[in-house]
Symmetry: D3
Subunit: 239 residues, 6 copies
Amino acid sequence: MRASQRNANELRSIRLSRGFTCHAEGSVLVEFGATRVLCTASVEDKVPPFLRGKGEGWVTAEYGMLPRATHTRSAREAAKGKQSGRTQEIQRLIGRSLRAVVDLSALGERQITIDCDVLQADGGTRTAAITGACVALHDALSGLVRSGQLAHNPMREFVAAVSVGIHDGTPILDLDYAEDSSCDTDMNVVMTEGGGMIEVQGTAEGKAFSRTELNALIDLAEAGIARLIELQRAAVNGD
Amino acid sequence: MRASQRNANELRSIRLSRGFTCHAEGSVLVEFGATRVLCTASVEDKVPPFLRGKGEGWVTAEYGMLPRATHTRSAREAAKGKQSGRTQEIQRLIGRSLRAVVDLSALGERQITIDCDVLQADGGTRTAAITGACVALHDALSGLVRSGQLAHNPMREFVAAVSVGIHDGTPILDLDYAEDSSCDTDMNVVMTEGGGMIEVQGTAEGKAFSRTELNALIDLAEAGIARLIELQRAAVNGD
Amino acid sequence: MRASQRNANELRSIRLSRGFTCHAEGSVLVEFGATRVLCTASVEDKVPPFLRGKGEGWVTAEYGMLPRATHTRSAREAAKGKQSGRTQEIQRLIGRSLRAVVDLSALGERQITIDCDVLQADGGTRTAAITGACVALHDALSGLVRSGQLAHNPMREFVAAVSVGIHDGTPILDLDYAEDSSCDTDMNVVMTEGGGMIEVQGTAEGKAFSRTELNALIDLAEAGIARLIELQRAAVNGD
Amino acid sequence: MRASQRNANELRSIRLSRGFTCHAEGSVLVEFGATRVLCTASVEDKVPPFLRGKGEGWVTAEYGMLPRATHTRSAREAAKGKQSGRTQEIQRLIGRSLRAVVDLSALGERQITIDCDVLQADGGTRTAAITGACVALHDALSGLVRSGQLAHNPMREFVAAVSVGIHDGTPILDLDYAEDSSCDTDMNVVMTEGGGMIEVQGTAEGKAFSRTELNALIDLAEAGIARLIELQRAAVNGD
Amino acid sequence: MRASQRNANELRSIRLSRGFTCHAEGSVLVEFGATRVLCTASVEDKVPPFLRGKGEGWVTAEYGMLPRATHTRSAREAAKGKQSGRTQEIQRLIGRSLRAVVDLSALGERQITIDCDVLQADGGTRTAAITGACVALHDALSGLVRSGQLAHNPMREFVAAVSVGIHDGTPILDLDYAEDSSCDTDMNVVMTEGGGMIEVQGTAEGKAFSRTELNALIDLAEAGIARLIELQRAAVNGD
Amino acid sequence: MRASQRNANELRSIRLSRGFTCHAEGSVLVEFGATRVLCTASVEDKVPPFLRGKGEGWVTAEYGMLPRATHTRSAREAAKGKQSGRTQEIQRLIGRSLRAVVDLSALGERQITIDCDVLQADGGTRTAAITGACVALHDALSGLVRSGQLAHNPMREFVAAVSVGIHDGTPILDLDYAEDSSCDTDMNVVMTEGGGMIEVQGTAEGKAFSRTELNALIDLAEAGIARLIELQRAAVNGD
């Protein structure tokens, strides 16, 4: 039993609240326990320069953390005048994960930007962000279908993400901040509804990990992501 | 009757939700109608260089807007690498307004930073921010008293702010975005519980305004701020 | 009697020297006592992106202070790599004040940039800048009329600005640096020739100010600005 | 057989040239085929602020690419005024990989910075950089032992890295630029001499990858890294 | 005879107006014809980090140009967020030239910063700046002697600068903007009162120059600088 | 005899290695003793905005130094977010020197960018860079002739550069770092094959220099550059 009273293979309490803000074409507050990320999808009739005139669309993401989303206040990136390497890594990961499940040709010359802003952080903000962003993106795409701008929703399947790690020698699912800070290996896995892997990013924070441990972690992640995708489906069908 | 079904002297529906996030020493979600601003207060045991060793504290504020808080997406300031002039004006205003009601000597060598982040914008974000920030700051100061770090709360009185403007020739209170975009004069007023004025910032967007109009606007603001301060009191006493 | 040997309602010695530099379409050195600001107006046949193709013009302003315009040297903003919040506030204020008195449709697709550079500072640089900038802009517009590019001068009326404040309990006009540093309330007022108010920005530096004080300050400012506009008229008619 | 005439499990021609430049405490030119990266190790008697006074050392890395290391010229990051997200990701990865094999307490309050500058790029620059950086770091640490500043070399074991990918359905080792640009899955693996995994970063560029494919890729990487570490050992023992 | 009605070896009308602004320890408006540069010297009781505790002083310079000092408006460097290469070259040149004639040990641990701001430009701004800066610096140093902070003025001799160039095949002295824009070779020479050369910077803008031409240019510069130094002496002795 | 065992008028050992890297249209590693600079020439079918549609080409240069090219590590300019004044001065000098020997009209609307990156520094990096850059540029231009894009090579003559200085009272040629750090006068001279001077930049680091010394320095430089140009010719004819 973990400090959080969860079993090794147990997700935190997950919530996906659609329509959290009113202006965006998709707006989802995703909660993985105390981690809360606001994901908004904004549709624009333009594409980045490298795609102009090709008839294809683009999906990109930006990530930010409110200064006091964390235990101690971090300096505001806008005030420092640049985004950290961590921020850039995360937003590139979110963008790649979403593009992997969207038929960009079917999207037409449009860009959808997903903003993932962490209101409260307790570990796993990037995996929560991917999971919520997928629903926000789905909502934005559904809107384009509803308004007749697209014939069908170009999202081929859902995508979700979860963290896994080796804590005190035991592989565990969906680490909170306390677990994340003290684990030996930390891995983020992004998978699709069909079970395909999109990203696997494992890092030994302390001692190196073995093939056996790698396999155990991926087993945990597969099951966790399957459950997350059920919850995404339920959230979307709830309307 | 205004498009929003409000009387000229009527505030929007106001909500002050304390404890909105869990890490900050004060955390208030303030809503002026559809305008929603998250105000967090962070206490640190350090002061800016110009105050070191003087035994005095400091209160400062930062302001930000999520990229899709607005009707169309704005570029993220962290990505652009600088804060706009508007952002800097607003955060300086919030900081000055709060310092006006705090006895900084009684605070000791501590800095309290109030982060005001707009989750959803519908006009009046700066006045909502000041109104919510005052409660977040009060909560942080109360915490210092509760933990024995301060003998009494160094906030001398409450402070709140509201916008007023002349719309189609009529002075109105607490403008929403639609009203703000089409009014001739826009004024932000910051006042204390005791009725003292802290800031008066009036701007003729279209035609110039007269002394008579100035007086009518300040009358409206005085009444509106009195009501806002009642709501602040109620929010704080609610615990 | 003030330390500067002026009465409470007395302006400093004001000078408006036109043609101070030779390249700009308008070039005015404005002096409010020891405060000296060089205001140049530059006409360009282009407008900002948001106005392209609309047949309208634009007036904008930039503000700077030479590093040793002040008692002690300040770091050069170009060397620091960014303009302070104060600089941005001031240049936005100057731009708004000037646009309020110009018929931008009559200007055609032209941009006029007013650069206000403080050569020597002794309080009231922003109000001196507005007052001088108006004359530089008028000269640039007159030039466009003289050269046949405009049928008439699109400046509808003159605009000027002055600071007022409460110093030792007494409302006074046109504060110098020493007065500004030790006053309780500081207010900048921008008004037109016709007596319309364009901007009123009052800030309680120390204790809050009352409605009565607000009224006294605006009375002082009205009279001071009327006098400044007489001096602008005289300067322009002097050629 | 691949376009490069290599078998699926064959590394490119690898060279590790020590002492490539004269000033650095370690200086290695690493070549993976046509990819050439200069790795220098610089020892400084200071540590980052978060480690001061803790008696521990630090190892960090920076990464850069000469503007014409690539087929077409890329803009110089120093001229653009910021490092790309890709650059930051890579330098963070190199730093983490090296720290995983060094006993930082045994290093004392010293920082070693590894600069990895790509002189010529043909795919796999980050894995070549890690492999070369390990040797440069080893040389710098040996120097500290030789000069009596350290009692023993605090590098616990060697670390190397290689890329693997799925190209036309086949898992292949050590991708060159042409293969990297057209593969479906791209994975970078960092492992130690003892066979422990430090980093596994797999990304589906096109279609998602399966568990079976993941396993095949890691098998390839394990063998490749074992060979790279033999070459590191040989290079170090060559003096 | 030149377009400006000057002989080949004739300086423009030169003016050195001391005490041009009131706050700086030295303040000189230097005019080389229509080129006008304000040079202020600011004394501070601190030195740059590399000199701390060495008992020596430092002299440095910064250079700027008001946006409309020139025929067409240039973007403000503070707004662009960086100083151009040209600005940096010039301010480094001014600083080196001044340090060459000051006994920095005799100055004590003080820094004097010379700000050279071009109010109006008509060619030769850097040479005018050096010539005026020398007088401003001398005044600041005299002030330190007068107030008893220094026993004697640590400026060993005066330094001045002038431009020379080959225009239509003829070597000419002190080029104005029109001459500078159309000359083949442009050279800036900095010399001391004793005839020593501090800087010689010659550039072929069009065709290369010969040894004979180089000699002719330096002859012209020597005579011009001798005259400038007489004028510096006269200006300083005028008080 | 100098510390380096060279005569006063003796160059260091010079090497020009063409084809040092494989992607660039010209790629030369130039060595002046232990100073090693990689010069690559990149041809692009575009010109800077001020030349568009004029049928002329452009040659420009960028300069950088690897962080550990020097005795102690310098901060990476890309990480600091800006290029130093020194870097900008040098790259402007290289660009001007190369443009002086190229017929830009004959180049057509193409830009050639020469990147000069210092791999190892031991004094004279800017003069080595110019000397190597000329060969890289020549190779790129020859390539355009070979591929039929140009009828003839638009480089009119070769250009090279060398440093000279006064060290312990003696004029010497081609200073290494130790000599450069302790000399009184440091001069960089850029000359063409035909003996024309392109740039002469002399600086008194310590005491001023006389006309006699200036002449002696230029004599040394003329002879040194003649020898460098022989080596350039030999390198180019070697293929």
